[in-house]
């Protein structure tokens, strides 16, 4: 099978790689670019830990064909922190003990960022909806919801 040349923006940087037809974006990011922040969970779109932003929209990278991001901007957790400083969401996750084993955390953070980018002051219900495609085994979700609310402009508590 011939390789397909593919160019896109990865966390603000132009990247050019060759992919096999049918390669998904998760494999392209992890194995060809070396960005290990999107995690492989189920490979079927059921767990959310591979979530990335494509042109600002939340997508499951395991179900996205790599070639479909040609010329588009892909954001992963690797691009979230600003220089040496944690992003406010990352800070809030740490402060609220919103991670235990940490495997869902990259997807949770990307889902949260997608939400706050379009809705800086969400209600609790909107936060719950925004992360409802992401499964967490350890935290019971409560600390994650609290962290996202704390990082947002909203002071909603109920």
């Amino acid at each position: 099978m011939s390789k397909i040349p593919l160019q896109f923006r990865h966390n603000g940087r132009d990247v050019a790689i060759f992919v096999d037809g049918g390669t998904n974006l998760l494999v392209a990011l992890r194995e060809l670019i070396g960005d290990m922040t999107p995690k492989f969970g189920c490979g079927q779109g059921g767990c959310g830990t591979c979530s990335v932003l494509i042109d600002g929209e939340l997508h499951l990278s395991c179900l996205t064909l790599a070639e479909t991001v040609a010329g588009r901007a892909v954001e992963t957790l690797d691009g979230m922190k600003q220089g040496p400083n944690l992003h406010p969401l990352q800070r809030a996750f740490a402060d609220h003990f919103a991670a235990q084993c940490g495997y869902c955390t990259p997807g949770m953070l990307m889902a949260a960022k997608a939400l706050l980018d379009r809705n800086p002051a969400p209600s609790r219900a909107e936060v719950v909806e925004a992360i409802s495609g992401n499964i967490c085994r350890c935290t019971g979700y409560e600390p994650i919801i609290d962290a996202i609310l704390a990082a947002s402009g909203s002071r909603a508590s109920a």
Partner: protein, 340 residues
């Protein structure tokens, strides 16, 4: 269609650790050339906080700042022996081993400091900020870093310590059946409130209230985090998760996370937790540790709450809508019990 509220409770008496031929764990502590300390363990931190807690225990025992301790875990090829991170044994067993190792390392550190300050080691104390000084004379002081350098380059000493904690095997008395499988027990009580839909059989969590007695909480935030998260694992086992829904018949087994159900962020409910601290005599700084009992009391409490709500007693987990509906049908309708 009616939604019935019910309340159920469960109490547990939870043994910390296990009894399969004895239950040992080891730890090694040594100072680095920088004057900071490394704890070597083969125990694994799965996210529950073993690294944080053993770091605290080591720092407190050595008398150095927590920032000066690094915990290196989970290499069973090169680390000292550990039975593992299970049976809620981490804080208690591994913590005790770390404490013993740190105590021995502290002894060497104080001897090395005594030699530098030309005093008796018994007259020295640590300030917890990285210095060792003569009791009552804080100006006669040396930093742990300088002690480590002196030990390594001048005195030819290793500031290190070995620790093991072993609960020996308890044999069963052939006459009475009596044995002592654990040295330390934690306790909990949990009240679950549910809402059962008698048309769909669905069970929704309304709220949980719990009290946990787990010795001293060495890191209260981590304890709370485990209790909050673990309770949801309990709810998941009570109501959702199973690899074989018609066990022993393997039909309809889930193949992915769409079929293998777990509660999502929309299924959670308020959970009020009280942590009661009764230090354990043989625990590191009195700790027992939360561990598996975060999830344990939830299952019977939810089953009891369902009985209270609709009068059906389901003893087969998980309590799926199908089981609830079949039981209600067999019973000839929902029979709410007296509200408790």
């Amino acid at each position: 269609m009616t939604r019935h509220r019910g309340r159920g409770m469960a109490s547990i008496n939870y043994p910390i650790g296990m009894n399969l031929g004895g239950d040992p764990s080891q730890a090694l502590v040594h100072s680095n050339p920088s004057g900071k300390f490394t704890v070597a363990l083969s125990s694994i931190d799965l996210g529950q906080g073993m690294k944080s807690v053993t770091r605290q225990i080591c720092a407190e025992t050595l008398g150095v700042p927590v920032e000066d301790v690094y915990v290196d875990t989970a290499d069973s090829d090169t680390g000292p022996h550990c039975m593992g991170s299970f049976a809620s044994r981490g804080t208690h067993r591994v913590g005790n081993a770390v404490m013993a190792a740190a105590r021995e390392a502290r002894g060497v550190m104080m001897e090395a400091a005594a030699e530098e300050l030309e005093v008796n080691a018994a007259d020295l104390e640590t300030d917890g900020r990285g210095n060792i000084h003569v009791k009552g004379a804080p100006h006669r002081s040396i930093s742990t870093k300088d002690v480590a350098i002196a030990a390594q380059f001048k005195q030819g000493k290793t500031i290190s310590g070995r620790g093991i904690f072993l609960v020996p095997l308890s044999n069963v008395d052939p006459e009475t059946g009596e044995m002592s499988p654990a040295t330390c027990y934690a306790h909990a009580c949990l009240v679950a409130e549910v809402e059962v839909d008698d048309e769909t059989g669905e069970v929704a969590m309304v709220r949980m209230d719990s009290a946990y007695e787990l010795g001293r909480a060495l890191n209260p935030r981590l304890v709370e985090q485990q209790l909050v998260g673990g309770a949801w694992m309990g709810v998941s086992h009570a109501l959702y998760e199973t690899p074989e829904p018609y066990y022993p018949d393997p039909v309809h087994g889930p193949r992915d996370f769409v079929e293998y159900l777990m509660p999502g962020p929309g299924d959670i409910c308020p959970h009020d937790i009280a942590v009661l601290e009764r230090p354990a005599p043989d625990g590191p700084f009195g700790a027992k540790g939360p561990g598996e009992m975060c999830a344990n009391p939830v299952l019977p409490a939810v089953a009891n709450a369902i009985f209270n709500a609709v009068g059906v007693r389901i003893d087969d987990l998980p309590i799926t809508p199908e089981k609830v509906l079949r039981a209600i049908k067999t019973q000839g309708g929902a029979r709410p019990q007296a509200r408790r």
